[in-house]
């Protein structure tokens, strides 16, 4: 793999026009990745689902080079038409279209930015890989006091040309004071056996609001990793929702740094898995100053041969008095081959805080099934109703009405 990486890396540098300085930086990250390799279960974060193993089991001859010069055809049928929206379209990791037609162009700046330094110190080798191999990336800046009129949907599409490839994507978002952005990540694949590695970095200034919805619904055999790093200043709010269902493997990592007083972070997630799928959500909420708040709710419905994992970590600095932190994870195991793992972790250094977590897992409640069946539903309907009710709880946490409806329709909770 090492040799392949080096060859592919050089190939990428030949076709791109990075500055020498950037290449040097990328090289250092590449070396870091080569040294550490893909993460494995020996690392605490990867204890439950070992990506190294999963990649080697699923993808043979992983290649790291993508030819971004070839234009791909956009198939408009894939677009979500119930909702007016702005678009960014990635096909096979290449930006095909950026369309902010609903917005005031003066208020949004799209900066083509190859500046690669990653300030957040990490020991995550997938981020190293991302920085080393990602193409030019964009920074989207939303100016002071501007709220996007329509949501922005980022389409992550792949077509059948892709196979055994590694795609590295990166986007930066800068939300200036009192601005707001609703962002939907929509995944749809016509390819299989690829590994996508997505890295978003958000900076939220005072009073900014970010709502990010990640929808991985369409069934596919790709492996995905997504990392959201969110820095929040005073009074800012971030809301992240993950619907994790379609890919063979998907790990969502969300890292929130609550750096300003009265900032808050909400993370809600659903795993709805069947047929050998393995998904994970890992969150880290760093409460660094006083009066910050975080709330997490993760629910899983697990079918045959599936595995879901939730690792949630709340860190409360000794300065962060009056922190309010909450984590709850629940799982329904539908089959004897399904497996649920959780590690809800609290790390607290301040005394005047309110932090709690809960976790529960089990099968569907027989009494409830019996109740519904005695009211005339058949077993399948009763089961469906209970599962829908279980999941609806999370959907109801979505604060945006339009998007909530959209999701309900997608999942089949609403016609």
């Amino acid at each position: 793999m090492k040799e392949q990486l080096k060859i592919d890396f050089n190939k990428i540098q030949e076709v791109s026009n990075f500055s020498n300085r950037d290449i040097e930086i990328k090289k250092s990250y590449l070396n870091k990745f080569i040294e550490n390799g893909f993460p494995n279960r020996k690392q605490e974060n990867w204890k439950f689902l070992d990506i190294n193993q999963i990649i080697s089991n699923n993808i043979s001859d992983l290649s790291f080079y993508n030819d971004y010069s070839i234009e791909n055809k956009i198939d408009p049928s894939i677009f979500i038409d119930d909702l007016e929206h702005n678009k960014i379209i990635f096909i096979n990791g290449r930006v095909e279209k950026i369309d902010f037609s609903y917005e005031d162009k003066k208020q949004i700046e799209i900066i083509e930015d190859s500046y690669t330094i990653d300030k957040s110190e990490n020991n995550n080798s997938l981020i190293d890989l991302n920085i080393a191999l990602s193409n030019k990336h964009f920074k989207i800046l939303i100016k002071k006091d501007y709220s996007l009129k329509k949501p922005l949907i980022i389409y992550h599409l792949t077509n059948e040309k892709m196979k055994s490839k590694n795609i590295n994507l990166r986007l930066d978002f800068e939300l200036e004071q009192n601005s707001s952005l609703k962002l939907i990540d929509f995944f749809s694949d016509d390819s299989e056996k690829n590994f996508m590695n997505i890295f978003y970095n958000f900076n939220l200034d005072r009073d900014a609001i970010l709502k990010n919805y990640k929808i991985d619904k369409s069934l596919n055999k790709n492996l995905k990793y997504s990392f959201n790093n969110i820095n929040q200043k005073q009074n800012s709010i971030s809301e992240t929702f993950v619907f994790s269902a379609g890919s063979d493997y998907f790990k969502n990592e969300i890292n929130c740094n609550l750096k300003g007083e009265y900032s808050s972070a909400f993370i809600n997630g659903i795993f709805s898995l069947d047929d050998n799928k393995q998904h994970e959500i890992r969150t880290t909420i760093n409460h660094l100053v006083e009066n910050t708040k975080s709330y997490q709710l993760i629910k899983s419905v697990l079918g045959k041969n599936t595995k879901s994992a939730y690792q949630g970590r709340i860190y409360v600095d000794s300065k962060a008095q009056k922190t309010d932190g909450y984590q709850l994870s629940k799982a329904i195991l539908l089959d004897e081959t399904s497996e649920f793992n959780a590690k809800p972790e609290l790390e607290i250094y301040a005394d005047d805080v309110k932090c709690s977590h809960g976790s529960a897992s089990g099968s569907l409640d027989d009494n409830s099934i019996f109740y519904l069946m005695s009211r005339g539903l058949n077993y399948k309907q009763a089961k469906g109703l209970l599962i829908n009710g279980f999941l609806l709880d999370v959907i109801e946490k979505i604060t945006d009405g339009e998007i909530k409806d959209l999701l309900k329709k997608m999942i089949g909770l609403k016609k």
Binding site: E339, A342, V353, S356
Partner: protein, 480 residues
Amino acid sequence: MDTREKDIENLKDYKYGFTTDIENIKAPKGLNENVIKFISNIKKEPKWMLDFRLKAFERFKLLKEPNWQKPKYPKIDYQDLYYYSAPKSMKDKPKSLDELDPKLLETYNKLGIPLQEQARLNGIAVDAVFDSVSVATTFKGELTKHGIIFCSMSEAIQKHPDLVKKYLGKVIPTTDHFFATLNSAVFTDGSFVYIPEGVKCPMELSTYFRINASETGQFERTLIIADKGSYVSYLEGCTAPMRDENQLHAANVELIALDDAEIKYSTVQNWYPGDENGKGGIYNFVTKRGLCKGKNSKISWTQVETGSAITWKYPSCILKGDNSIGEFYSIAITNNHQKADTGTKMIHLGKNTKSKIISKGISAGFSDMTYRGLVDINSKAKNSSNYTQCDSLLMGNKCGAHTVPYIKNKNFDSNVAHEATTSKISEEQLHYCQQRGLNPEEAVGLIVNGFCKEVLQQLPMEFAVEAQKLVGISLEGSVG
């Protein structure tokens, strides 16, 4: 008086901080095959025991010291420790209490456990451990009547080799983790309990551990076997003298419960925690594991951990028999610079197995406390359930409280529920108590005792009183 001064005051009062100067026989410093042979030889052990040790040592040489735990400690030089020391007067075992070295008896008196008195008054048989060799075992008569074997490990190896051979190392194998393997290689003594079929042990069995002689790691080995349909409640309490250099304590405790048997194991641990600057104190790296081997068996761990500079232990239950039950009740209190990383593992293998975990952590001063627990429900453990509750209380913003539960549920018939909270003592509660005439310290003591009540209730009477006092004492100087 400011906190610092108060702490120093308290320290002077540490009533267990003394040493007796009995000349010790020591094995040469360091860890090698010869030292192990020396230990085995001095204890007149049979060959299979020596082989057991050497096998463990072979394995130990391959292992690396773990470093994933939260509390870090300075590197221990295992070649710079004495692995065996015994009071000289112990060369020939005394037949009765009267034969004991008066100095030893005095030590126990200072500890507040005069052997004869306690045995008589409390109806407890005491197997006292001084350094690494059992000193005296009382109430033998009563126990023998029931066929109960309660003796030191060395004696058990001599007198009941079949039982020891059959069960030793079956729960904690010689191939286990670093410290457990070290213990298997060099363990000196400990307690051995065997409760025969259908016998309910008529009294609480108890051991007091005592670490003496500086630079001596203490490697205890305890083995408790409850045969079919039997019951035993075992108490373990510890105090240690003041020392400047850190002392390592790596004990192994194995419990085995056969069909319908129940073992209740209670610990009050109050070893020297180091001074207010975190200097000195005991490293308490203990491996405790219980195996519910038979059907309908039950193992219950209760612990009150207030001492030691570093406590690092996870009393665990392997629920192998169908319908078996595992319980874990814990109070851990850390003050000053103490550190604790403790919790439990509940491994569900059998059908209809149940486990319950109640953990209460209190941290004050500059201390750090971690609850780390694993609930693992195997795919064959149909209809199992677990309930976990872990609460933490913080006093001040220089300390830390952490909760790291691992939950693995591989069985869709089983239920796992976990809850945890972290909070501080509210102003209202304090105000209310003070209004009723309690001073702040008493008020905190009262509230903390209330917080711990669920666990304290699980302790046998004699211990509960002591533990309640201990909870109060441990937190002195942390308020205000």
